[in-house]
């Protein structure tokens, strides 16, 4: 596979060549992860490679601007007045240089001055792969090998960016596998709300990588929404390193795609760092949604709290694999992980695996997972107030998922997510819902 990829990489970014070449070489050896890998036990990328027949990457020039002729759900064209919107089509960013909120710098490769190049290189990591000797993700290597653009979002030290930034990652149809790459650098003491939305045309294939670094005392509220069309496929790797006394809140929402796999790693690297992760997914139809999260405590007095909620309906398959690792250096840390799932039909499947790995004594950790059905008493209560069974189910399903949106502090964004959720639940296939009367 490596030869055609090498031939088709876009040129013009020589300083990236070494990095891309080594990533490509590593990927050539490792290939895509397969189900023999415990972390990939339930998710096969075979279908992905069948459809992915064109290795070309975006050239750095967007072919169309985002907007009117949006190829998918109407919700995709959402632009909020109170948010700063950045568009990327097929991994190429149209980063505007005007109107950027104060305290914030946004650069794509096209607009990258030498002073920012070092920052980008630092965030991308060493060209030879992770310095700590951990096995690099082959999907990150693949992204690096094929990347045509990078979006850098950086805050100024001490800046509190009032306006949320909304990044819309739109992908056109297969056969190309799109490789969006997002880098976020939170300077010490800065604050930002960042929303990241995956949308695309029918058949979109995406391998996204996001790398985030939080400096001392900084705060990031990250909202990630996957709303790809029903036959889309997404692999996504998100890596967040949280520095001293910094805190990150992640809200992850999976509503679309045929196959979606997110690998989220949060490293609590500085003393007193904290992370809150809320997740929700809706695996209905024939959707396959896999969330694999790693919260790693490396420094003393670090805190993590993760709650993931999932629904599987019809022939959907939801997977949650959440691991908390408390390293020897992380004395005095606290970690809590819960996963709650609803299985709405017998043909759907949920696999959940919460794990704790603790290498130090002085910590407080808890984890648990449940999978159940909608509460019959609550259903009856709603019906006794006049709601028909389908509406009652929908209300309870939405309510179950909505709890995961509690981390979204921006009212407009929250409302938008609620609307998206509601629309998805209403559009669900009613034939399989039953009437219960």
């Amino acid at each position: 596979m490596s030869q055609p990829i090498a031939q088709q990489i876009a040129g013009g970014l020589e300083w990236l060549d070494e990095r891309r070449a080594s990533a490509l070489a590593r990927f050539g050896k490792s290939g895509l992860p397969d189900t023999k890998n415990e972390d990939w036990r339930y998710t096969s990328l075979a279908g992905y490679t069948q459809r992915w027949t064109d290795y070309r990457t975006a050239s750095g020039q967007p072919s169309v601007s985002a907007g009117g002729d949006s190829p998918t759900r109407g919700a995709d064209s959402w632009v909020a007045a109170d948010m700063f919107t950045v568009d990327a089509v097929d991994g190429a960013f149209c980063a505007p240089l005007v109107g950027t909120p104060p305290g914030l710098t946004i650069r794509s490769l096209q607009h990258l001055t030498p002073e920012w190049r070092g920052r980008v290189e630092g965030l991308l990591g060493p060209p030879e792969g992770p310095a700590d000797g951990s096995s690099p993700s082959s999907l990150v290597d693949l992204n690096t090998a094929l990347l045509g653009d990078v979006l850098l979002i950086a805050t100024d030290p001490g800046s509190c960016v009032a306006m949320p930034v909304h990044v819309r990652l739109q992908c056109t149809a297969a056969p190309a596998l799109r490789q969006p790459r997002l880098l976020v650098d939170m300077a010490p003491g800065s604050q930002l709300t960042l929303s990241l939305e995956h949308t695309g045309a029918a058949g979109a294939l995406v391998n996204a990588v996001t790398q985030i670094r939080l400096g001392r005392d900084s705060q990031l509220n990250l909202i990630r929404v996957q709303a790809l069309p029903d036959d889309g496929m997404l692999t996504e790797t998100t890596h967040i390193e949280v520095g001293e006394a910094a805190s990150v809140t992640v809200t992850s929402v999976d509503l679309g795609s045929q196959l979606s796999r997110q690998s989220l790693t949060v490293l609590l690297a500085g003393t007193g760092a904290s992370a809150i992760v809320h997740g929700l997914f809706l695996a209905d139809g024939h959707r396959h949604i896999d969330n694999c999260t790693r919260l790693e405590h490396r420094a003393p007095l670090t805190t993590s709290r993760e709650t993931f909620r999932g629904i599987a309906d019809d022939h959907g398959h939801g997977i949650f694999n959440g691991k908390i690792i408390v390293q020897p250096g992380a004395a005095g840390s606290t970690a809590a992980l819960t996963n709650r799932n609803l299985l709405l039909t017998t043909t759907a499947e949920i696999d959940t695996k919460p794990e704790l790995e603790i290498y130090v004594d002085d910590v407080r950790c808890s984890h648990g997972a449940t999978t159940g059905q909608l509460d019959a008493n609550a259903l009856f209560y709603l019906r006794s107030r006049g709601l028909d069974p389908a509406a009652a189910r929908q209300v309870l399903t939405a309510a179950f998922l909505r709890e995961s949106l509690s981390g979204v502090a921006v009212p407009e964004l929250r409302a938008r997510l609620e609307t998206l959720l509601q629309a998805r639940l209403q559009a669900g296939p009613p034939a399989t819902m039953g009437t219960g009367t």
Partner: protein, 253 residues
């Protein structure tokens, strides 16, 4: 006057055991009926069967509501036809606000009557009025249904819902249990304010106390799955003084 509710020889089994053994009850518009009885007499079973809860097998008899076969109606159809059940143990539903539930419930009822959905301003005015009647803080409206409510708040919320929905027949299952005296007064006041010549109430209760505040037209004593005695409110006082045993013993063949 035609009966709103006509229960005739109703027999109901739960898990193979007959709980109601031939119950007769006639409720007309404007009336308040109290159904009293010792624990295990079938009071809650009656309330549940009338509301359409699963798990009850009707083995005999009939129930007619507004001339329709109530037992053939789904729970939501009963609600839309103006039947309201006040739950003994109201359910907590986090993530669904009180105000959302009320609007959905009210619109379901209106739609069944061929009316359009209530407009936002009228709805807001209505719920605020009724919240005031029930001495409920308006912040309760935006909270999840019964989420984190105390026992008394939950019962108050049931009556609040009833006040907004303005049912034709309300069945209140042990609404007085778990209430302190102040909450009991508020709940009773809510019920009394809804008394109307076109509306009827069936109060299922273990204690006479509620009837100090809501004066019933009829008191029925339920024992062994049927009504063994019917009287006016003095019967409740008699029960309070002598307990159930005496009356049950007197009624035994």
């Amino acid at each position: 006057m035609n009966a709103l509710l006509q229960v005739s020889g109703l027999r109901v089994a739960v898990g193979g055991k007959e709980i109601l053994t031939g119950l007769d009850l006639t409720v007309r518009a404007g009336e308040v009926h109290a159904i009293m009885g010792p624990n295990g007499s079938g009071k809650s079973t009656l309330a549940h069967v009338l509301s359409g809860r699963d798990g009850y097998v009707v083995t005999g008899g009939s129930v007619s509501y507004l001339g329709r076969d109530l037992l053939a109606m789904a729970p939501e159809e009963r609600a839309r036809a103006g039947l309201f059940l006040g739950f003994q143990y109201p359910i907590e539903i986090p993530g669904v606000s009180n105000v959302y539930l009320l609007r959905s419930a009210l619109n379901a009822r209106r739609s069944a009557r061929g009316e359009s959905e209530i407009d936002a301003a009228s709805f807001l005015r209505l719920v605020k009025d009724k919240a005031r009647l029930m001495q409920m803080d308006e912040t309760f409206l935006q909270r999840g249904v019964n989420e984190g409510f105390s026992g008394g708040e939950k019962k108050r919320n049931e009556i609040f819902q009833m006040a907004v929905l303005e049912p034709i027949l309300a069945i209140l299952d042990e609404t007085d249990s778990g209430l302190d005296i102040d909450a009991l007064k508020v709940v009773s006041n809510g019920v009394n304010s809804l008394r109307d010549p076109a509306r009827a109430f069936v109060l299922v209760t273990h204690y006479q106390r509620l009837l100090d505040y809501i004066r019933p037209d009829f008191v029925h004593v339920l024992a062994g799955g049927r009504i063994i005695r019917t009287g006016d409110r003095t019967l409740a006082l008699e029960l309070e003084a002598g307990g159930y045993e005496q009356i049950v013993a007197a009624a035994s063949p």
